[in-house]
Amino acid sequence: MGGAMSSVTISGDTSGSIILQAPAVSGSTTLTLPTTTGTLVTSNAMPTGSVLQVVNATYAVTTSNTSGSYVDSGLTASITPSSASNKILVIVNQLGCGKNGNTYMLARLKRSSTVLAVLSGGSGYTNSTASNNFGGLGMTWLDSPATTSSTTYSTEFATAVATNQVYVQGNSENSTITLMEIKG
């Protein structure tokens, strides 16, 4: 349809109306409608399970700990959910993990100061003082933060036997954390 209309109004079956409104832009844009029967999806009404946004972060600084107290691994990312009913799918790949001495690694996933899950309860154990570069720890965790405030996810780690070293991002390997907001 040609012409100079900036909007088209479609009356509702019984009441109300829908207005198709052209934005104030230069040039012309073509919207091609689907050829099958269905309902158009808008940004405010995505189906449950839709991915609404993705945040990704990497960290490659070798970080070591000889304490039984947890310390941050340095891997962290933040996301601001658009609705408190949405969920956050957290995908963690903690790489470059290893130990020196007779110990093993403890690691866990946190939302702010809340521990969400154990990422490692005994990784790298050799029952000896041998060094062990055991590679990576991975986890997928579906969280329900119930907030629309900025929410930070991170990992932390500790050694099982104090004074014996455990480390992450050894050899500057890239750990990654991906946050996906899922429509609830």
């Binding site: 600084v61 970080t63 000889t66 304490s67 107290s69 340095g74 070293q165």
Partner: protein
Amino acid sequence: MNKHFFIFRLYPSVVTIRGDVAYDKDEQEVAYDLQAVEALMAAEEYKDLRAKEYPAIADQLDYIYHNGIDAWKEDMIDPVKNKYPKG
């Protein structure tokens, strides 16, 4: 062994290291002598090199069983020790 291992060795108050920065249990930064750390690394590099080159323990035990301790030392251990002498 990585550099962090030797920093921990030389500086017992260090419990966490992020990159090149060391911290004590209170997250206070701990200064360290990088040259001393690197010197210790170089001096003890032979341990890693030897460990990587020794045959598997099962193979060593089998060799001892069939050939005796002296042959094991001479054929399996001494060549590696000689190849990587103490620093």
